[in-house]
Structures are given as structure tokens and as C-alpha cells.
């Protein structure tokens, strides 16, 4: 699994809202902190294991199964593509 953002989607920090947003043509999705930190690592180069180990440098108790589940959920909402 090498997740990447959908074509033409980008992550942006919105200072006025204090929120991470996923910007897509004609659509904005407000992300929670967990989803934002995972999506920020979905660059189409890192695999699942690499994403998990990145997350471990910042958060405690990261579990690969949970990250995978989150990614599958986000993919179901078409906010990330898994390949």
C-alpha cells in the first residue's frame, strides 16, 4: 500500500479556522488532527510501514492496523488513494 492524495488535492493549514483542510476542486474537507497527520505523509512514495514509523516519531502507541483502518476509511470517502 502506497497511499497518495487524489489528483489535484492538497493539504492546507487554515490559520483563521485553526484547522487542516483538504482542498479539492469545488470541495473543501475539514480534517481532524489524526487524519491530517496521516494524510500529510501520503506522498505516493512512503508505504504503510514508513508512514507508521514517521508517525511514531511524533505520537505514542501508533499501531499499524489502526493507521491502515484509518486510511481505508479515508479512501472510502475518496480523500486518499491506496495503491
Amino acid at each position: 500500500m502506497t497511499p497518495h492524495l487524489p489528483p489535484h488535492a492538497s493539504l492546507r493549514w487554515n490559520p483563521a479556522r485553526g484547522e487542516w483542510l483538504l482542498m479539492m476542486p469545488e470541495e473543501v474537507v475539514v480534517l481532524n488532527e489524526t487524519a491530517a497527520s496521516v494524510l500529510a505523509l501520503c506522498d505516493g512514495r512512503r508505504g504503510l510501514a514508513a508512514i507508521v514509523s514517521e508517525l511514531e516519531t511524533e505520537y505514542e502507541g501508533v499501531e499499524e492496523a489502526q493507521v491502515e483502518e484509518l486510511l481505508r476509511g479515508l479512501a472510502g470517502q475518496r480523500l486518499v488513494e491506496l495503491r
Binding site: P7, H8, R12, A16, R17, L21, M23, P25, E26, V28
Partner: protein
């Protein structure tokens, strides 16, 4: 109720447009060029919007390219971190013009699958300019949405419209049945598709969506009058979006100024933040407390949000009733009568044409 900050703003920079589409939803009373906000006026609107939490600005009209200051206006959006979506007819969108604009995405309107049909609905010949516009958008590597408003005279061409969008290199294709406001309401009998046309289009869209999956995203807006399921007004009145008209009026939806008793606020006289949070107009239909039956006790009330307030007003004279498009509305017979009239064919040219 906590009032959320807006995410998107539709900036109608001008009502001036080279096309004269019979389905235009601009108001019948168009704003004159002399009443338009100045460059500085729009720049301060964008600054206020960004400070309010707006993330995405749709630069629209009329035809936004008719504003000579569009490069400055789009740059002002980008400086404030706003994602900009240019909504255009494509007329005048040359490579040179596009290179001067700070836009993140372009939505290009297409009127029909062939030059003759497009000329009939828009009363202009812009076919080649649209093909050229699509080309320059893709040459710059920008995402392209092709938008088609569907009605009686082009709804049978969905298959060819999809093929055209593919040829144009579209990343997204929006096929949206006409919504009846402004000029479109005046031409409703001429525009309304028959039930059989809608059924056929639905099937073609389903097949196309399956075929295009993973390549082109297909967004389909069903005709609420035909389906009996109302559209959730703006995803909630005063919840996600606001519209600023060419003269600086601030509206909860692009057509809300058709409600005669709505006190319309203007950015020249009141800050955008105060209008969003405090104005009577933005609070009128916020949340669900305003709802009456059958909406109030309906399990779909948080899905449909009562439907469209403006359509409720247009059909019944009361903006606070259930949208008559809804199959559960006691006013549904008014919609059935309109649909019945559409089954009897209307030929000739449209009765009304915007300037």
C-alpha cells in the same frame, strides 16, 4: 447553536457575460457595471473572507474574465491563502490571459455537444473558443471541470457530452439539471425535460460514471422537481457558503435576494463577519428550528434540510414551508402541474433572453 465559520465564497464579480443562456440563474434585474465593487472593494472582501475562515473562493459572474482587474483579484485571493476556482464560459480565456491569473482550478461551461445546439441555448457562437479554453487550461497543468446545465434541448445528448468532456481532457464533469431561478424560471416551460428524458439520462449517466471511474469524476445533479427529493439548500443556510454579488450584496445563497422580505446586507455598509454571524438574513433559516411540518418530524430533515427556501417561496409565496419539490410537501401538486405541462412539447425559441 454554534454558528460554523464559512468554508466557501461565491464571488460574482460582474453580471456582464458574452453568453445569453436561457437557463441563466442570474437575477432578472442585472447589476449594471457602474454599480460593481471596485478592485479595492473586492480585495477587502477577500481579506475579510480569509479572516473569517473561508478557504475556497469561486470567481464567477456573469463572466469573470470581463473584469480587467481579474489578475489583481485572483492574486489577492492567493496572497491570503484562498484556493481559487475560476468559473468561466471560456470566452476570452487565452493562454496569455490564463498565465496572468492566480487560479487553482477552472470550471468551464459547455452548453451542448455540438456547435448548433450550443448556439441555440446561448444565442452566441463560442464553440471554438471553449475548445481552445480547455486546451490552455490543460496546457498549464490545471485541473479542469466541465460543467453542463441539462434541459429539454440537450439532455438527450449526455453520451456525446461525456465524449466531449473526455476530448477536452476534463478531470471532472458536472452534469446538472437546470435549477429554476432568474431567467431559467421565466423560461421553465421551454427548458423542462420530460420524465422519459430524465429516466434515459439517468441510465446514460450511470453507465458513464462506471466507465469513467478512476479517470474522470462525474458529478450528477438530479432534477429535484422530477425526483421528488429536494436539494439540501446550500448544505444548510448560513452553514458553509456565502455569495457576494457584483454590487457587494451578501447572500446566504446566490438567488436569495428573490425573497422580497429578506433584509439584504452589503459589504460597503457592514463588515462581512457581522453579516455572517449576526445578520437577520443569515440567521433566518439557520439550523432546523425554523422548520414546520412535514419537515419538523421527518427522518430526512437533516439530509434534505427542508429543501430550497427560494423554491418554496417561488411556488407558494412562503419561504418557510417545505420545498414543494419534496414528495411529502402538501404543495407537491403545484410541481406536478408544472411537470405535466412539460410533457406537452414546447418548440420555438425561449421566451426570455438576458442581455
Amino acid at each position: 447553536m454554534t454558528i460554523p465559520a464559512p468554508l466557501g465564497m461565491l464571488a460574482e464579480l460582474t453580471h456582464s457575460c458574452p453568453l445569453h443562456c436561457a437557463y441563466c440563474s442570474n437575477p432578472v434585474e442585472l447589476v449594471a457595471g457602474t454599480d460593481e465593487l471596485s478592485t479595492a472593494g473586492w480585495v477587502s472582501v477577500f481579506a475579510a473572507a480569509a479572516a473569517l475562515g473561508v478557504a475556497q473562493v469561486h470567481l464567477s459572474g456573469g463572466e469573470p474574465l470581463r473584469r480587467r482587474d481579474l489578475p489583481e483579484l485572483s492574486a489577492a485571493c492567493r496572497e491570503r491563502g484562498l484556493y481559487t476556482n475560476l468559473i468561466t464560459s471560456g470566452v476570452g480565456l487565452t493562454g496569455e490571459r490564463l498565465a496572468a491569473l492566480a487560479v487553482d482550478h477552472v470550471q468551464l461551461s459547455v452548453q451542448d455537444a455540438d456547435p448548433e445546439g450550443a448556439a441555440r441555448i446561448s444565442a452566441t457562437r463560442t464553440w471554438r473558443q471553449k475548445l481552445a479554453a480547455a486546451r490552455v487550461v490543460k496546457e498549464r497543468g490545471l485541473p479542469l471541470t466541465v460543467n453542463v446545465v441539462l434541459h429539454r434541448h440537450n439532455v438527450d445528448h449526455v453520451e456525446s457530452l461525456v465524449a466531449l468532456a473526455e476530448r477536452m481532457g476534463a478531470d471532472r464533469l458536472e452534469l446538472a439539471h437546470t435549477q429554476y431561478y432568474g431567467w431559467a424560471l421565466r423560461n421553465r416551460d421551454w427548458l423542462l425535460a420530460t420524465a422519459a428524458q430524465v429516466r434515459a439520462a439517468d441510465a446514460v449517466v450511470r453507465a458513464a460514471a462506471a466507465r469513467l471511474a478512476g479517470r474522470i469524476e462525474l458529478a450528477y445533479v438530479s432534477p429535484d422537481l422530477h425526483t421528488g427529493w429536494p436539494k439540501p439548500c446550500m448544505d444548510g443556510w448560513g452553514r458553509r457558503q456565502l455569495t457576494v454579488t457584483p454590487s457587494g450584496n451578501v447572500l446566504p445563497c446566490p438567488v436569495a435576494d428573490l425573497l422580497p422580505d429578506l433584509t439584504v446586507e452589503n459589504v460597503r455598509y457592514r463588515p462581512l463577519r457581522a453579516i455572517w454571524y449576526e445578520s437577520e438574513s443569515f440567521n433566518r433559516f439557520r439550523g432546523t428550528d425554523w422548520m414546520r411540518e412535514p419537515c419538523r418530524s421527518c427522518p430526512r430533515r437533516d439530509v434534505d434540510l427542508g429543501g430550497c427556501r427560494c423554491q418554496a417561496y417561488q411556488f407558494t409565496g412562503d419561504a418557510a414551508v417545505t420545498d414543494p419539490a419534496c414528495r411529502y410537501s402538501p404543495h407537491r401538486p403545484l410541481v406536478e402541474a408544472v411537470l405535466g405541462a412539460a410533457e406537452r412539447s414546447v418548440g420555438g425559441p425561449p421566451g426570455h433572453r438576458r442581455r
